[in-house]
Point group: C2
Chain length 277, copies 2
């Protein structure tokens, strides 16, 4: 272990270079070899196959909600969450040099970025075609080959591709944050300021979810998030993603997790990790 800690960790992130996910990985690991992967599934696989030590993926945006590709992978993967990073996300309208607002007919970006700027787009370009691409960085790259297009992306990506920022800060909510998870083979040790994430299913009867939440309420454990997702292949059945304050090794968290085993039809621990600063 000591030897491992001395070498730079290898960290996969959702690329290409210049994404918010790269920034998040850099915030978590001051010294690391950062390696871009083309999609979220690729980041998970890189850690699972031990091509890298850790992976960084976006999990939720404070305006638009969860990143389903990440939630769906967490459900299937054996990786653990070992870290959480929060970033303020600002979006920019980026074009080829000498392009004006009224020439824009196509808007390229990652679906989350398009969604976070939905009101701006509807008001400014009510008839534009929206093209979903795999990242904001990719969207800016593509500007070279698509006519009458604008990309939504970062200033850094605009600079790198020699494109022009036509308008800054086009996100609908100025207080626009994204959470990222750091994934590894094991979760993190307690720091006294931790969170724990898990997935569970409750029975399909009145009061089932209530009886699960009771476990946390009676122990005064704060839930920071609960979200339902469809259970694949079972229409109108759901699994719940739950985050609570505390480390799984703390006594009351541990009691709660044991109590859940009795009241849930399914439970999967995703890990405990220090809360984002």
């Amino acid at each position: 272990m000591r030897k491992r800690e001395m070498v730079k960790p290898r960290v996969a992130y959702l690329g290409p270079e210049g994404t918010f996910c790269e920034q998040a990985a850099r915030k978590q690991f001051s010294r690391a070899a950062l390696i871009p992967y083309p999609n979220i599934a690729g980041v998970f696989m890189a850690v699972e196959k031990r091509e890298v030590d850790y992976g960084a993926v976006p999990v939720e945006n404070s305006t638009e909600g969860s990143v389903y590709a990440t939630l769906d992978r967490l459900l299937e993967s054996n990786l653990m969450i070992c870290g959480e990073v929060e970033l303020k996300v600002a979006h920019n309208l980026i074009v080829k040099p000498n392009t004006s607002l009224n020439q824009i007919k196509v808007i390229l970006s990652h679906p989350q970025a398009l969604a976070q700027c939905r009101r701006f787009i509807e008001n400014t370009f009510p008839d534009a075609e929206l093209r979903e691409v795999s990242s904001t960085a990719k969207a800016v790259e593509l500007l070279g080959s698509v006519d009458n297009a604008a990309a939504i992306g970062t200033e850094i990506a605009a600079e790198r591709s020699k494109m022009v920022v036509l308008k800054k800060g086009i996100e609908d909510e100025s207080n626009n944050l994204t959470r990222f998870f750091v994934l590894g083979e094991v979760d993190a040790r307690p720091t006294g300021r931790d969170k724990t994430s898990l997935i569970f299913s409750a029975k399909h009867i009145p009061g089932a979810l209530y009886r699960v939440l009771e476990i946390f309420a009676v122990r005064n454990i704060n839930l920071t998030k609960i979200e339902s997702r469809p259970e694949k292949g079972k229409p109108w059945s759901y699994v719940f993603f739950l985050d609570f304050e505390g480390h799984r090794t703390e006594e009351k968290s541990n009691e709660a997790l044991n109590a859940m085993k009795e009241r849930c039809t399914y439970i999967k621990l995703l890990g405990s990790y220090p809360r984002a600063q």
Copy 2:
């Protein structure tokens, strides 16, 4: 009122012609003038401005989850939900005549359809560019003007546009259903087999959500769905969309709604309506 009932109702739906939403509107209204609108906001506005009597919008898919554009509009609008329709949704890979699988570099569809076929796309076209357009019908229309492209859409749309179905049933889950809401100025009268939908916020303290769910548990009221959505402009705060069995005018539902007023920081009734058959 009697006079109104004799004329055909006018119903806005998420167009263009040939969408699943048109099918849903037709299932709900056997005799109606159906009018396509280009987006979900447009359907809401058409009802709000009384251009039409009712509107039909998709709200949730059993594989991919909720349609956020609809949830976000429900939060802002004064319209009520007066009906619910469920449809089985099958997707097809559609191309221009004489196009083969290995020529396909671009896949066009509505984001929900792309998501419902994610596994098929990843396995069959790992490098394809995904282009998000406003409907599956629009995606099929666009095939005429985009090279090396496939659309994901309905067989009817393929026929109408003289395109070819290359592969049927490409959705990842064979049991793939979509729920639609019918919107009007008032909700529906009790039928004995109803659901009620509402939105609420709870305090940001341990046990707050638990104390809201208790209201339903002690009255043995079944919750068919609960989903959190980010509260705009307040990072990591959430509102909850809740559906329960029963009509708001029934005694125990009415008691529950009154009890909620005391335990929630915000509550908005979206309406009671007969459950989808």
